[in-house]
């Protein structure tokens, strides 16, 4: 599943990520595409706190960050 947060700034990406994760089952993988630099800092600590696994963080063309999280 992919969540498009491109163009959004704090707090909308984290709000949307939290809402989407709630709808997933344990072990499901969520791909997040965003452009807010803050999400790259907020996501790792949020994952650690909530028992999710941050599988990947990659910078793509056009200022887009791709983050992949497995629900714990």
């Amino acid at each position: 599943m992919t969540l498009d947060c491109k163009g959004l700034s704090c707090p909308m990406p984290m709000l949307k990520i939290t809402k989407t994760m709630k709808s997933l089952n344990t072990g499901d993988v969520l791909e997040i595409l965003g452009t807010d630099p803050g999400t790259k800092t907020d996501l790792p600590s949020w994952c650690a706190k909530n028992g999710h696994e941050l599988l990947e963080t990659t910078d793509l063309e056009g200022g887009v960050n791709r983050m992949v999280v497995r629900k714990g």
């Binding site: 709000l15 800092t41 907020d42 706190k49 910078d59 200022g63």
Partner: protein
């Protein structure tokens, strides 16, 4: 330059601009710079400067005739606002994080409305998240404490709205978005060169004031540093109030508490010993610096409205300014709302508030007048400690977080 020195310099550059700084580092540095501003003239504030920008804009179009308007280039606080944006721009460019990020339409509308609400809150409450909170609380102002608690209530109401909106009207924050001028991965050297040009430009502006207005030179340099530090540490007052009740995270709050604690020590010393230029002002005026006549009614109303606005906008006064420098278009709309509505609110809404509130609900309350310097210092230190313990406990237990 030897290759070893070059390596050391690129290591330092990588350390400063490779990753974001911990918010507490940003908070402490901003607290120290705030003390320096106060020692030179008066503490950090944003809403006065934003109003100055709005006044200048309206006078360009001949509106509000008869009103005396200080040119932005002659206003310390007007320039402070502008240079925070430039400092953030430099920080974003050096870290290759600058890009024009255009959000979906609904977000831009929310940005503008949030900015307009912040303008009303800051003008009625006499101060914003900086003047009546980050500077006002360490300035030992009773009004700042009321403003802070009211702002907190506004944040909670507004956060509930955002969660409701996301559930009921998810389309408002989805749709077409665009990104321009982003640095490509492993490339984007042009951003670093542009950052150097911005810094040279800022230094030249500061230099032009050295003979005629040295205070302005210092304000320009400090504002640039404040913008850069805020962008690198993502220092934001709305985050500090909101996140414990949203995701439960406490690092934004700890950063703000660190900055307040540093400023509290410095501001108390400056006031107690009347440090700084008191040739022009009396000792009492130095004590009452940043203690605004807003206790308690104006602070209550203004703080609540400001809290509503900054949460909808997604940036407090300084959070808006540094995100403008980073290229977040939503916050450009917030700044537009702030700039356009601050003079209007001063002209129409503030006189109305003054008309319905008695003098006893809008006076200067300097805490040491009631409980002494030691009592005021301890009271604020205690509030900061309780706040710290609460957010750390809440982070562990998640008792008050929405998710």
């Amino acid at each position: 330059m030897s290759s070893q020195n070059k390596n050391s310099l690129s290591e330092l550059f990588g350390m400063l601009f490779g990753k974001h700084w911990p918010v507490w580092v940003g908070g402490i540095l901003l607290g120290l710079l705030n003390i320096l501003l106060f020692a030179i003239k008066s503490p950090w504030g944003a809403s006065g400067g934003i109003t100055n920008l709005g006044d200048n804009l309206y006078s360009l179009f001949g509106m509000f005739p008869g009103k005396e308007v200080t040119a932005v280039t002659a206003s310390n606080y007007g320039m402070l606002v502008v240079l925070i944006v430039f400092g953030s721009l430099a920080g974003a460019l050096f870290s290759k994080e600058f890009a024009l990020r255009v959000p979906p339409k609904g977000e831009m509308i929310k940005g503008f409305i949030g900015g307009a609400l912040m303008a009303v809150g800051a003008t009625v409450g006499i101060g914003c998240s900086i003047g009546s909170f980050f500077s006002g609380v360490p300035a030992l102002s009773g009004g700042a404490l009321v403003f802070s608690f009211a702002m907190f209530a506004g944040v909670i109401v507004s956060l509930k709205y955002l969660i409701w909106e996301m559930e009921k009207f998810p389309k408002w924050s989805t749709g077409k978005s665009y990104t321009f001028l982003a640095a490509a991965p492993e490339k984007g050297r042009w951003q670093i060169i542009a950052g150097i040009i911005v810094l040279i430009f800022v230094i030249l502006i500061a230099y032009t004031y050295t003979d005629t207005n040295p205070v302005m030179s210092w304000f320009i340099i400090i504002a640039t540093l404040m913008g850069l530090i805020s962008q690198r540490s993502r220092f934001c007052i709305v985050k500090s109030f909101r996140d414990p009740f949203m995701s439960g995270e406490s690092h934004g709050t700890v950063g703000v508490i660190a900055g307040l604690a540093v400023s509290l020590v410095g501001f108390t010393a400056i006031k107690y010993f009347s440090i700084g230029d008191i040739s022009e002002v009396s000792q009492r005026a130095r004590e009452l610096t940043w203690v605004f006549p807003n206790f308690w009614g104006k602070a209550l109303a203004g703080g609540f409205i400001f809290g509503l606005g900054m949460t909808v906008a997604g940036g407090c006064a300084v959070g808006t300014l540094w995100r403008v420098g980073e290229g977040q278009i939503k916050l450009w709309f917030s700044l537009l709302g702030l700039v356009l509505f601050s003079p209007i609110s001063n002209e129409y809404i503030v006189p109305f508030a003054d008309g319905i509130l008695p003098q006893s609900a809008r006076f200067r309350s300097f805490l040491p007048d009631y409980i002494g310097y030691d009592g005021a210092f301890l009271l604020i230190a205690l509030i900061l400690i309780v706040w710290y313990v609460f957010v750390k406990w809440n982070e562990r237990t998640g008792k008050f977080s929405a998710f």
